[in-house]
Protein backbone atom coordinates (compact mmCIF):
# COMPACT_ATOMS: atom_id res chain seq x y z
CA UNK A 1 0.00 0.00 0.00
CA UNK A 2 1.81 3.10 -1.15
CA UNK A 3 1.26 5.80 1.43
CA UNK A 4 1.77 8.40 -1.32
CA UNK A 5 -1.62 7.71 -2.78
CA UNK A 6 -3.95 7.36 0.17
CA UNK A 7 -7.20 6.01 -1.17
CA UNK A 8 -9.71 8.79 -1.78
CA UNK A 9 -12.05 7.94 1.07
CA UNK A 10 -15.11 10.15 1.39
CA UNK A 11 -15.73 12.55 4.25
CA UNK A 12 -13.43 13.61 7.05
CA UNK A 13 -10.52 11.24 7.52
CA UNK A 14 -10.31 11.39 11.31
CA UNK A 15 -13.18 11.14 13.77
CA UNK A 16 -13.53 13.99 16.23
CA UNK A 17 -12.50 11.80 19.17
CA UNK A 18 -9.19 11.07 17.47
CA UNK A 19 -8.44 14.73 16.78
CA UNK A 20 -9.27 15.74 20.34
CA UNK A 21 -7.22 12.89 21.85
CA UNK A 22 -4.19 13.88 19.77
CA UNK A 23 -4.69 17.59 20.50
CA UNK A 24 -4.96 16.87 24.22
CA UNK A 25 -1.73 14.91 24.32
CA UNK A 26 0.02 17.65 22.32
CA UNK A 27 -1.20 20.22 24.86
CA UNK A 28 -0.13 18.12 27.81
CA UNK A 29 3.27 17.42 26.14
CA UNK A 30 2.91 13.77 27.06
CA UNK A 31 2.94 10.71 24.86
CA UNK A 32 1.53 7.23 24.87
CA UNK A 33 3.05 4.23 23.13
CA UNK A 34 2.86 0.49 22.99
CA UNK A 35 6.64 0.26 22.80
CA UNK A 36 8.27 -2.08 25.30
CA UNK A 37 11.02 -0.51 27.47
CA UNK A 38 13.68 -2.11 25.23
CA UNK A 39 12.04 -0.69 22.11
CA UNK A 40 11.78 2.74 23.70
CA UNK A 41 15.49 2.75 24.54
CA UNK A 42 16.40 1.49 21.06
CA UNK A 43 14.32 4.14 19.28
CA UNK A 44 15.75 6.91 21.49
CA UNK A 45 19.23 5.53 20.90
CA UNK A 46 19.05 6.40 17.20
CA UNK A 47 17.73 9.91 17.80
CA UNK A 48 13.96 9.47 17.67
CA UNK A 49 11.38 10.04 20.39
CA UNK A 50 7.90 8.63 20.74
CA UNK A 51 5.13 11.01 19.67
CA UNK A 52 2.03 8.99 20.46
CA UNK A 53 -0.01 5.88 19.89
CA UNK A 54 -1.79 6.12 16.54
CA UNK A 55 -4.66 4.14 15.08
CA UNK A 56 -6.22 3.71 11.68
CA UNK A 57 -9.29 1.66 10.97
CA UNK A 58 -11.79 0.92 8.27
CA UNK A 59 -14.91 -1.22 8.08
CA UNK A 60 -15.39 -2.16 4.48
CA UNK A 61 -17.98 -3.94 2.42
CA UNK A 62 -16.46 -6.25 -0.18
CA UNK A 63 -18.41 -6.43 -3.41
CA UNK A 64 -19.41 -9.74 -4.92
CA UNK A 65 -18.24 -11.35 -8.08
CA UNK A 66 -20.44 -14.02 -9.48
CA UNK A 67 -18.62 -16.61 -11.46
CA UNK A 68 -15.58 -16.69 -13.63
CA UNK A 69 -17.30 -15.10 -16.59
CA UNK A 70 -17.38 -11.81 -14.77
CA UNK A 71 -20.87 -10.78 -13.80
CA UNK A 72 -19.24 -8.66 -11.11
CA UNK A 73 -18.61 -4.97 -11.47
CA UNK A 74 -15.04 -5.32 -12.64
CA UNK A 75 -15.58 -8.18 -15.03
CA UNK A 76 -13.07 -10.87 -15.75
CA UNK A 77 -9.80 -9.01 -15.70
CA UNK A 78 -7.53 -11.28 -13.70
CA UNK A 79 -5.95 -14.66 -14.10
CA UNK A 80 -8.15 -17.28 -15.74
CA UNK A 81 -7.41 -20.80 -16.86
CA UNK A 82 -9.73 -23.56 -17.95
CA UNK A 83 -9.16 -27.27 -17.57
CA UNK A 84 -10.91 -29.15 -20.36
CA UNK A 85 -12.30 -32.62 -19.79
CA UNK A 86 -9.44 -35.08 -20.38
CA UNK A 87 -11.91 -37.52 -21.96
CA UNK A 88 -12.73 -35.09 -24.73
CA UNK A 89 -16.27 -34.13 -23.72
CA UNK A 90 -17.53 -30.62 -24.30
CA UNK A 91 -18.33 -28.31 -21.41
CA UNK A 92 -21.94 -29.22 -20.70
CA UNK A 93 -21.83 -32.99 -20.38
CA UNK A 94 -23.02 -34.18 -16.96
CA UNK A 95 -20.12 -35.59 -14.92
CA UNK A 96 -17.54 -34.22 -17.33
CA UNK A 97 -17.58 -30.53 -16.42
CA UNK A 98 -14.54 -28.49 -17.31
CA UNK A 99 -12.55 -27.05 -14.46
CA UNK A 100 -11.59 -23.43 -14.14
CA UNK A 101 -9.30 -21.31 -12.01
CA UNK A 102 -10.07 -17.63 -11.77
CA UNK A 103 -9.06 -14.64 -9.77
CA UNK A 104 -11.46 -12.75 -7.47
CA UNK A 105 -10.43 -9.31 -8.65
CA UNK A 106 -13.34 -7.53 -7.01
CA UNK A 107 -12.42 -8.98 -3.59
CA UNK A 108 -8.73 -8.12 -4.07
CA UNK A 109 -9.50 -4.51 -4.93
CA UNK A 110 -11.84 -4.22 -1.96
CA UNK A 111 -9.24 -5.56 0.47
CA UNK A 112 -6.57 -3.26 -0.91
CA UNK A 113 -8.90 -0.29 -0.62
CA UNK A 114 -9.74 -1.21 3.00
CA UNK A 115 -6.04 -1.46 3.89
CA UNK A 116 -5.40 1.80 2.04
CA UNK A 117 -8.06 3.60 4.06
CA UNK A 118 -6.70 2.27 7.37
CA UNK A 119 -3.15 3.33 6.40
CA UNK A 120 -4.28 6.79 5.32
CA UNK A 121 -5.98 7.32 8.71
CA UNK A 122 -2.94 6.02 10.57
CA UNK A 123 -0.85 8.51 8.57
CA UNK A 124 -3.32 11.33 9.23
CA UNK A 125 -3.08 10.70 12.99
CA UNK A 126 0.71 10.58 12.79
CA UNK A 127 0.74 13.79 10.75
CA UNK A 128 -1.51 15.51 13.30
CA UNK A 129 1.12 15.07 16.01
CA UNK A 130 3.98 16.02 13.65
CA UNK A 131 5.49 12.55 13.69
CA UNK A 132 7.97 11.40 11.06
CA UNK A 133 6.91 7.80 11.05
CA UNK A 134 5.11 4.94 12.75
CA UNK A 135 6.86 1.80 13.98
CA UNK A 136 5.57 -1.53 15.22
CA UNK A 137 2.37 -1.29 13.18
CA UNK A 138 0.18 -4.28 13.87
CA UNK A 139 -2.53 -5.00 11.33
CA UNK A 140 -5.58 -7.02 12.23
CA UNK A 141 -8.21 -8.14 9.81
CA UNK A 142 -11.46 -9.67 10.92
CA UNK A 143 -14.82 -10.43 9.47
CA UNK A 144 -17.56 -8.36 11.10
CA UNK A 145 -19.97 -10.73 12.80
CA UNK A 146 -23.47 -10.87 11.49
CA UNK A 147 -22.74 -9.02 8.28
CA UNK A 148 -21.72 -10.87 5.18
CA UNK A 149 -18.84 -9.57 3.09
CA UNK A 150 -17.88 -6.95 5.68
CA UNK A 151 -14.36 -6.79 7.08
CA UNK A 152 -12.68 -4.58 9.63
CA UNK A 153 -9.04 -3.58 9.16
CA UNK A 154 -7.30 -2.02 12.15
CA UNK A 155 -3.75 -0.72 12.33
CA UNK A 156 -2.12 0.29 15.57
CA UNK A 157 1.42 1.56 16.06
CA UNK A 158 3.59 4.12 17.80
CA UNK A 159 4.35 7.36 16.00
CA UNK A 160 7.90 8.59 16.45
CA UNK A 161 9.63 11.86 15.59
CA UNK A 162 13.15 13.19 15.26
CA UNK A 163 13.37 16.44 17.25
CA UNK A 164 14.34 19.51 15.24
CA UNK A 165 13.66 17.99 11.83
CA UNK A 166 10.97 19.38 9.52
CA UNK A 167 7.92 17.14 9.08
CA UNK A 168 7.82 14.80 6.08
CA UNK A 169 5.17 15.16 3.39
CA UNK A 170 4.10 11.59 4.16
CA UNK A 171 5.31 9.88 7.35
CA UNK A 172 6.73 6.38 6.95
CA UNK A 173 5.05 3.29 8.35
CA UNK A 174 6.63 0.00 9.34
CA UNK A 175 5.66 -3.28 10.93
CA UNK A 176 9.14 -3.63 12.40
CA UNK A 177 9.76 -3.45 16.15
CA UNK A 178 11.62 -0.56 17.76
CA UNK A 179 14.82 -2.62 18.02
CA UNK A 180 14.65 -3.60 14.36
CA UNK A 181 14.04 0.02 13.38
CA UNK A 182 17.07 1.11 15.42
CA UNK A 183 19.29 -1.55 13.83
CA UNK A 184 18.27 -0.43 10.36
CA UNK A 185 18.87 3.26 11.07
CA UNK A 186 22.29 2.60 12.60
CA UNK A 187 23.37 0.69 9.49
CA UNK A 188 22.20 3.32 7.04
CA UNK A 189 18.70 2.12 6.19
CA UNK A 190 15.36 3.77 6.84
CA UNK A 191 11.92 2.19 6.82
CA UNK A 192 10.05 3.67 3.86
CA UNK A 193 6.58 2.27 4.19
CA UNK A 194 4.35 -0.65 4.95
CA UNK A 195 3.53 -2.56 1.77
CA UNK A 196 1.02 -5.29 1.18
CA UNK A 197 -0.37 -7.52 -1.52
CA UNK A 198 -3.60 -9.52 -1.66
CA UNK A 199 -4.67 -12.25 -4.04
CA UNK A 200 -7.58 -14.68 -4.19
CA UNK A 201 -7.92 -17.47 -6.72
CA UNK A 202 -10.87 -19.82 -6.92
CA UNK A 203 -10.53 -23.36 -8.22
CA UNK A 204 -13.67 -24.99 -9.60
CA UNK A 205 -12.92 -28.69 -10.00
CA UNK A 206 -12.89 -30.19 -13.43
CA UNK A 207 -13.56 -33.87 -13.99
CA UNK A 208 -9.82 -34.42 -14.59
CA UNK A 209 -9.03 -33.00 -11.14
CA UNK A 210 -11.75 -35.08 -9.51
CA UNK A 211 -10.27 -38.14 -11.16
CA UNK A 212 -6.82 -37.45 -9.67
CA UNK A 213 -8.33 -36.83 -6.24
CA UNK A 214 -10.22 -40.09 -6.15
CA UNK A 215 -7.42 -42.22 -7.56
CA UNK A 216 -5.44 -44.84 -5.66
CA UNK A 217 -2.13 -43.66 -7.02
CA UNK A 218 0.15 -40.73 -6.28
CA UNK A 219 -0.03 -37.69 -8.46
CA UNK A 220 0.19 -33.92 -8.47
CA UNK A 221 -3.17 -32.10 -8.48
CA UNK A 222 -2.10 -29.70 -11.19
CA UNK A 223 -5.17 -27.51 -11.14
CA UNK A 224 -4.79 -26.85 -7.41
CA UNK A 225 -1.02 -26.41 -7.62
CA UNK A 226 -1.51 -23.82 -10.30
CA UNK A 227 -4.21 -21.98 -8.32
CA UNK A 228 -2.02 -21.78 -5.21
CA UNK A 229 1.18 -20.90 -7.07
CA UNK A 230 -0.56 -18.15 -9.02
CA UNK A 231 -2.14 -16.83 -5.85
CA UNK A 232 1.25 -16.49 -4.14
CA UNK A 233 2.87 -14.96 -7.20
CA UNK A 234 0.10 -12.40 -7.68
CA UNK A 235 0.10 -11.33 -4.01
CA UNK A 236 3.88 -10.98 -3.80
CA UNK A 237 3.98 -9.25 -7.17
CA UNK A 238 1.50 -6.65 -5.91
CA UNK A 239 3.58 -6.16 -2.76
CA UNK A 240 6.68 -5.65 -4.89
CA UNK A 241 4.91 -3.18 -7.17
CA UNK A 242 3.82 -1.20 -4.12
CA UNK A 243 7.39 -1.24 -2.79
CA UNK A 244 9.17 -0.24 -5.99
CA UNK A 245 8.43 3.51 -5.76
CA UNK A 246 9.26 3.58 -2.04
CA UNK A 247 12.57 1.85 -1.60
CA UNK A 248 15.19 -0.60 -2.71
CA UNK A 249 13.90 -3.64 -0.96
CA UNK A 250 11.40 -5.19 1.41
CA UNK A 251 12.28 -6.92 4.66
CA UNK A 252 10.32 -9.07 7.07
CA UNK A 253 7.65 -10.19 4.63
CA UNK A 254 4.92 -12.04 6.49
CA UNK A 255 2.76 -14.09 4.16
CA UNK A 256 -0.27 -16.12 4.98
CA UNK A 257 -2.19 -18.36 2.65
CA UNK A 258 -5.52 -19.85 3.63
CA UNK A 259 -8.20 -21.78 1.85
CA UNK A 260 -11.80 -20.77 2.32
CA UNK A 261 -15.17 -21.72 0.92
CA UNK A 262 -16.45 -19.68 -2.01
CA UNK A 263 -19.77 -18.47 -0.67
CA UNK A 264 -22.47 -21.04 -1.27
CA UNK A 265 -20.62 -22.75 -4.09
CA UNK A 266 -18.71 -25.94 -3.38
CA UNK A 267 -15.49 -24.46 -4.76
CA UNK A 268 -12.53 -23.41 -2.66
CA UNK A 269 -10.68 -20.11 -2.79
CA UNK A 270 -6.98 -19.73 -2.08
CA UNK A 271 -6.51 -16.45 -0.26
CA UNK A 272 -3.07 -14.91 0.21
CA UNK A 273 -2.03 -11.80 2.12
CA UNK A 274 1.54 -10.61 2.29
CA UNK A 275 2.78 -7.64 4.31
CA UNK A 276 6.29 -6.23 4.66
CA UNK A 277 8.28 -3.05 5.22
CA UNK A 278 9.97 -1.35 2.28
CA UNK A 279 13.43 -0.05 3.17
CA UNK A 280 15.69 2.57 1.58
CA UNK A 281 19.39 3.07 2.04
CA UNK A 282 20.38 6.65 2.97
CA UNK A 283 24.01 6.02 3.78
CA UNK A 284 26.48 3.32 2.80
CA UNK A 285 27.58 1.74 6.03
CA UNK A 286 28.39 -1.65 7.38
CA UNK A 287 27.59 -2.69 10.93
CA UNK A 288 28.93 -0.07 13.39
CA UNK A 289 30.70 -2.85 15.29
CA UNK A 290 31.44 -6.29 13.90
CA UNK A 291 28.91 -8.86 15.14
CA UNK A 292 29.97 -10.28 18.47
CA UNK A 293 29.73 -14.02 18.93
CA UNK A 294 28.04 -14.61 22.24
CA UNK A 295 27.04 -17.47 24.45
CA UNK A 296 23.64 -16.83 25.92
CA UNK A 297 23.23 -17.73 29.56
CA UNK A 298 19.47 -17.85 29.25
CA UNK A 299 17.36 -20.83 28.28
CA UNK A 300 17.41 -20.02 24.64
Amino acid sequence: MAPQDPEAGGGPVLPEAASSRLAESARARSWTSDLSPAELVAVRGVGFEPAGLVLGSSIYHLGSQWGAMGFGVWGRTGYYRSYPCPHGYSYLVEGHEWGQNWEHTQYERGMEAAFGLAVSRLLAEAGAIRAHGVVGVRTTLRAVQGMSQVVEVTMLGTAIRRPGVAPLAVPFTSHLSGQDFAKLVSTGWIAAGLVMGVAAVEADDGCGTRQVLSSWTNGEVEQYSDAVERCREIAVHRLERAAAPLGEGVVGVEAELSIREAGTREAKVADMRAIGTAVRQFRRASLPDPPLTIMRLADR
Binding site: Y79, L213, T217, N218, V221, V236, A243, V251, I259
Partner: protein, 274 residues
Amino acid sequence: MTQIDAASVGLPPDALRRLGELEPAEGRPALFTSDLSVNEFLLVKEAGFDPRGLVFGSSIYHIGLQRKSWSKNQELETLSQAMYTARELAMSRMEAEADVLGADGIVGVRLDINFYDWGKHSAEFIAIGTAVSASEPGGSWRTKAAKPFTSDLSGQDFWTLVQAGYAPLGLVMGTCVYHVAHQGMAQAIGTVGQNTEMANFTQALYEARELAMERMQAEAESLDAEGIVGVQLIEKSHFWGSHVIEFLAVGTAVRPLRADHVIAQPQMVISLDR
Protein backbone atom coordinates in the same frame (compact mmCIF):
# COMPACT_ATOMS: atom_id res chain seq x y z
CA MET B 1 22.90 -17.54 -16.71
CA THR B 2 19.88 -19.69 -16.02
CA GLN B 3 20.57 -23.39 -15.68
CA ILE B 4 17.08 -24.67 -15.01
CA ASP B 5 14.34 -24.75 -17.62
CA ALA B 6 11.59 -22.85 -15.85
CA ALA B 7 8.74 -24.31 -17.87
CA SER B 8 9.78 -27.92 -17.42
CA VAL B 9 9.55 -27.74 -13.62
CA GLY B 10 6.15 -26.07 -13.86
CA LEU B 11 6.93 -22.46 -12.99
CA PRO B 12 3.87 -20.30 -13.81
CA PRO B 13 4.34 -17.36 -16.22
CA ASP B 14 3.36 -14.95 -13.40
CA ALA B 15 6.50 -16.03 -11.59
CA LEU B 16 8.73 -15.10 -14.50
CA ARG B 17 7.01 -11.73 -14.85
CA ARG B 18 7.29 -11.02 -11.13
CA LEU B 19 10.94 -12.01 -10.96
CA GLY B 20 11.70 -10.00 -14.10
CA GLU B 21 10.45 -6.86 -12.39
CA LEU B 22 12.92 -7.34 -9.53
CA GLU B 23 15.85 -6.97 -11.92
CA PRO B 24 17.13 -3.48 -12.63
CA ALA B 25 15.90 -2.03 -15.93
CA GLU B 26 15.63 1.23 -17.80
CA GLY B 27 14.77 3.93 -15.27
CA ARG B 28 14.13 1.43 -12.51
CA PRO B 29 16.64 0.23 -9.93
CA ALA B 30 16.68 -3.32 -8.63
CA LEU B 31 14.28 -4.23 -5.85
CA PHE B 32 14.58 -7.10 -3.43
CA THR B 33 12.01 -8.76 -1.20
CA SER B 34 12.74 -11.11 1.63
CA ASP B 35 11.09 -12.63 4.62
CA LEU B 36 14.34 -12.23 6.54
CA SER B 37 14.10 -10.45 9.87
CA VAL B 38 16.18 -7.29 10.25
CA ASN B 39 18.86 -9.23 12.16
CA GLU B 40 19.04 -11.80 9.41
CA PHE B 41 19.04 -9.16 6.68
CA LEU B 42 21.97 -7.27 8.24
CA LEU B 43 23.96 -10.43 8.93
CA VAL B 44 23.47 -11.80 5.42
CA LYS B 45 24.81 -8.44 4.17
CA GLU B 46 27.71 -8.64 6.62
CA ALA B 47 28.50 -12.15 5.34
CA GLY B 48 29.00 -10.61 1.89
CA PHE B 49 25.66 -11.46 0.30
CA ASP B 50 22.77 -9.37 -0.99
CA PRO B 51 19.18 -10.54 -0.71
CA ARG B 52 17.58 -10.79 -4.18
CA GLY B 53 14.01 -11.85 -3.73
CA LEU B 54 11.48 -13.99 -1.97
CA VAL B 55 11.25 -17.27 -3.85
CA PHE B 56 8.82 -20.11 -3.45
CA GLY B 57 7.50 -23.22 -5.00
CA SER B 58 4.52 -25.30 -4.13
CA SER B 59 2.81 -28.43 -5.22
CA ILE B 60 -0.56 -29.82 -4.33
CA TYR B 61 -0.17 -33.52 -4.37
CA HIS B 62 -2.66 -36.32 -4.16
CA ILE B 63 -1.31 -39.08 -1.97
CA GLY B 64 -2.31 -42.51 -3.18
CA LEU B 65 -3.46 -45.41 -1.08
CA GLN B 66 -1.50 -48.44 -0.04
CA ARG B 67 -2.59 -51.74 1.38
CA LYS B 68 -0.96 -52.50 4.71
CA SER B 69 -1.25 -55.60 6.78
CA TRP B 70 -2.58 -55.08 10.30
CA SER B 71 0.11 -57.00 12.12
CA LYS B 72 3.19 -56.25 10.07
CA ASN B 73 5.96 -53.68 10.39
CA GLN B 74 6.57 -52.31 6.93
CA GLU B 75 7.54 -49.24 4.98
CA LEU B 76 4.67 -47.85 2.90
CA GLU B 77 6.62 -47.10 -0.25
CA THR B 78 3.77 -45.38 -2.08
CA LEU B 79 3.43 -42.87 0.74
CA SER B 80 7.20 -42.42 1.16
CA GLN B 81 7.49 -41.76 -2.52
CA ALA B 82 4.58 -39.26 -2.50
CA MET B 83 6.00 -37.31 0.44
CA TYR B 84 9.41 -37.17 -1.19
CA THR B 85 8.32 -36.37 -4.76
CA ALA B 86 5.96 -33.61 -3.69
CA ARG B 87 8.64 -31.88 -1.59
CA GLU B 88 11.10 -32.30 -4.42
CA LEU B 89 8.63 -30.65 -6.85
CA ALA B 90 8.17 -27.69 -4.52
CA MET B 91 11.93 -27.38 -3.98
CA SER B 92 12.72 -27.57 -7.69
CA ARG B 93 10.23 -24.77 -8.44
CA MET B 94 11.78 -22.63 -5.71
CA GLU B 95 15.26 -23.33 -7.12
CA ALA B 96 14.04 -22.44 -10.60
CA GLU B 97 12.78 -19.08 -9.29
CA ALA B 98 16.17 -18.37 -7.71
CA ASP B 99 17.82 -19.41 -10.95
CA VAL B 100 15.70 -16.93 -12.92
CA LEU B 101 17.06 -14.22 -10.62
CA GLY B 102 20.59 -15.47 -11.24
CA ALA B 103 21.01 -15.89 -7.48
CA ASP B 104 23.85 -17.87 -5.93
CA GLY B 105 21.69 -19.57 -3.36
CA ILE B 106 18.65 -19.57 -1.09
CA VAL B 107 18.77 -19.11 2.68
CA GLY B 108 16.14 -19.62 5.34
CA VAL B 109 14.29 -22.28 3.38
CA ARG B 110 11.17 -23.56 5.08
CA LEU B 111 9.46 -26.73 3.98
CA ASP B 112 5.87 -26.88 5.08
CA ILE B 113 2.93 -29.11 4.48
CA ASN B 114 -0.56 -27.68 4.68
CA PHE B 115 -3.56 -29.94 4.84
CA TYR B 116 -6.55 -27.96 3.70
CA ASP B 117 -10.01 -29.42 3.61
CA TRP B 118 -9.52 -29.13 -0.08
CA GLY B 119 -9.68 -32.71 -1.09
CA LYS B 120 -9.15 -35.88 0.83
CA HIS B 121 -5.65 -37.29 0.78
CA SER B 122 -4.14 -34.25 -0.81
CA ALA B 123 -1.81 -31.73 0.71
CA GLU B 124 0.08 -28.61 -0.26
CA PHE B 125 3.83 -28.96 -0.10
CA ILE B 126 5.56 -25.63 -0.05
CA ALA B 127 9.13 -24.37 -0.02
CA ILE B 128 9.82 -20.68 0.75
CA GLY B 129 13.15 -18.90 1.13
CA THR B 130 15.13 -15.78 0.29
CA ALA B 131 17.40 -15.89 -2.76
CA VAL B 132 20.80 -14.29 -2.18
CA SER B 133 23.78 -13.37 -4.37
CA ALA B 134 27.38 -12.81 -3.35
CA SER B 135 28.16 -9.07 -3.39
CA GLU B 136 31.50 -9.78 -5.04
CA PRO B 137 31.02 -11.57 -8.34
CA GLY B 138 33.22 -14.45 -9.36
CA GLY B 139 32.73 -16.68 -6.34
CA SER B 140 31.67 -20.25 -6.95
CA TRP B 141 28.74 -20.69 -4.60
CA ARG B 142 26.48 -22.84 -6.73
CA THR B 143 26.39 -26.63 -6.48
CA LYS B 144 28.29 -28.84 -8.89
CA ALA B 145 25.12 -29.17 -10.98
CA ALA B 146 25.32 -25.32 -11.28
CA LYS B 147 22.10 -24.94 -9.28
CA PRO B 148 21.76 -22.33 -6.53
CA PHE B 149 22.65 -23.67 -3.09
CA THR B 150 19.77 -24.15 -0.65
CA SER B 151 19.82 -24.06 3.11
CA ASP B 152 17.28 -24.10 5.89
CA LEU B 153 19.61 -22.17 8.17
CA SER B 154 18.54 -18.74 9.46
CA GLY B 155 20.47 -15.60 8.51
CA GLN B 156 22.32 -15.78 11.84
CA ASP B 157 23.34 -19.40 11.27
CA PHE B 158 24.36 -18.59 7.71
CA TRP B 159 26.68 -15.80 8.92
CA THR B 160 28.20 -18.06 11.56
CA LEU B 161 28.71 -20.87 9.06
CA VAL B 162 30.48 -18.62 6.53
CA GLN B 163 32.60 -17.08 9.33
CA ALA B 164 33.66 -20.56 10.35
CA GLY B 165 34.80 -21.33 6.82
CA TYR B 166 31.94 -23.46 5.54
CA ALA B 167 29.53 -22.91 2.69
CA PRO B 168 26.06 -24.40 2.46
CA LEU B 169 25.56 -26.74 -0.47
CA GLY B 170 22.04 -27.96 -0.34
CA LEU B 171 19.04 -28.75 1.77
CA VAL B 172 19.07 -32.52 1.99
CA MET B 173 16.24 -34.72 3.12
CA GLY B 174 15.16 -38.29 3.48
CA THR B 175 11.74 -39.57 4.30
CA CYS B 176 10.20 -42.84 5.28
CA VAL B 177 6.53 -43.55 5.93
CA TYR B 178 6.24 -46.58 8.12
CA HIS B 179 3.42 -48.75 9.32
CA VAL B 180 3.88 -49.95 12.88
CA ALA B 181 2.31 -53.36 13.47
CA HIS B 182 -0.64 -53.65 15.82
CA GLN B 183 -0.07 -55.90 18.76
CA GLY B 184 -1.65 -59.36 18.64
CA MET B 185 -4.03 -60.48 21.39
CA ALA B 186 -1.70 -63.19 22.68
CA GLN B 187 1.15 -60.70 22.85
CA ALA B 188 -0.95 -58.17 24.74
CA ILE B 189 -2.03 -60.73 27.30
CA GLY B 190 1.49 -62.04 27.68
CA THR B 191 2.83 -58.66 28.78
CA VAL B 192 0.11 -57.72 31.28
CA GLY B 193 1.66 -56.50 34.50
CA GLN B 194 5.22 -56.86 33.29
CA ASN B 195 8.07 -54.46 32.63
CA THR B 196 9.20 -55.38 29.18
CA GLU B 197 10.52 -53.75 26.06
CA MET B 198 8.08 -53.65 23.19
CA ALA B 199 10.50 -55.20 20.76
CA ASN B 200 8.21 -54.84 17.76
CA PHE B 201 7.60 -51.14 18.26
CA THR B 202 11.22 -50.41 19.05
CA GLN B 203 12.32 -52.20 15.92
CA ALA B 204 9.79 -50.42 13.72
CA LEU B 205 10.57 -46.90 14.84
CA TYR B 206 14.28 -47.61 14.86
CA GLU B 207 14.29 -48.91 11.32
CA ALA B 208 12.13 -46.09 9.97
CA ARG B 209 14.42 -43.41 11.45
CA GLU B 210 17.49 -45.15 10.09
CA LEU B 211 15.97 -45.36 6.61
CA ALA B 212 15.10 -41.64 6.61
CA MET B 213 18.57 -40.65 7.82
CA GLU B 214 20.29 -42.95 5.36
CA ARG B 215 18.39 -41.38 2.46
CA MET B 216 19.32 -37.92 3.66
CA GLN B 217 22.99 -38.95 3.91
CA ALA B 218 22.86 -40.36 0.38
CA GLU B 219 21.63 -36.97 -0.90
CA ALA B 220 24.50 -35.21 0.85
CA GLU B 221 27.03 -37.65 -0.60
CA SER B 222 25.72 -37.06 -4.11
CA LEU B 223 26.39 -33.33 -3.54
CA ASP B 224 30.00 -34.09 -2.48
CA ALA B 225 29.30 -32.52 0.91
CA GLU B 226 31.70 -32.72 3.83
CA GLY B 227 28.86 -33.02 6.30
CA ILE B 228 25.35 -32.04 7.29
CA VAL B 229 24.48 -29.46 9.94
CA GLY B 230 21.27 -28.72 11.77
CA VAL B 231 19.57 -32.04 11.12
CA GLN B 232 16.02 -32.21 12.35
CA LEU B 233 14.22 -35.48 12.67
CA ILE B 234 10.52 -34.85 12.41
CA GLU B 235 7.88 -37.47 13.11
CA LYS B 236 4.31 -36.91 12.05
CA SER B 237 1.25 -39.02 11.42
CA HIS B 238 -0.47 -36.38 9.25
CA PHE B 239 -3.88 -37.88 8.47
CA TRP B 240 -3.01 -41.55 8.59
CA GLY B 241 -3.94 -42.47 12.15
CA SER B 242 -1.62 -43.50 14.94
CA HIS B 243 0.07 -46.52 13.36
CA VAL B 244 1.37 -44.86 10.21
CA ILE B 245 4.17 -42.37 10.82
CA GLU B 246 6.31 -40.27 8.52
CA PHE B 247 9.92 -39.86 9.58
CA LEU B 248 11.51 -36.89 7.85
CA ALA B 249 15.18 -36.12 8.24
CA VAL B 250 16.21 -32.71 6.93
CA GLY B 251 19.42 -30.71 7.23
CA THR B 252 21.89 -28.52 5.36
CA ALA B 253 24.83 -30.19 3.60
CA VAL B 254 27.99 -28.10 3.84
CA ARG B 255 31.39 -27.96 2.18
CA PRO B 256 34.59 -26.45 3.54
CA LEU B 257 35.77 -23.06 2.24
CA ARG B 258 39.15 -23.28 3.96
CA ALA B 259 41.14 -25.66 6.12
CA ASP B 260 40.72 -24.06 9.55
CA HIS B 261 37.30 -23.55 11.06
CA VAL B 262 37.95 -21.14 13.90
CA ILE B 263 35.59 -18.37 14.95
CA ALA B 264 36.12 -15.60 17.50
CA GLN B 265 35.89 -16.74 21.11
CA PRO B 266 32.23 -16.35 22.15
CA GLN B 267 31.49 -13.82 24.90
CA MET B 268 29.12 -14.90 27.59
CA VAL B 269 26.07 -12.72 28.05
CA ILE B 270 23.13 -12.66 30.35
CA SER B 271 20.26 -11.66 28.14
CA LEU B 272 17.94 -9.00 29.48
CA ASP B 273 15.27 -10.21 27.09
CA ARG B 274 12.87 -12.80 28.25
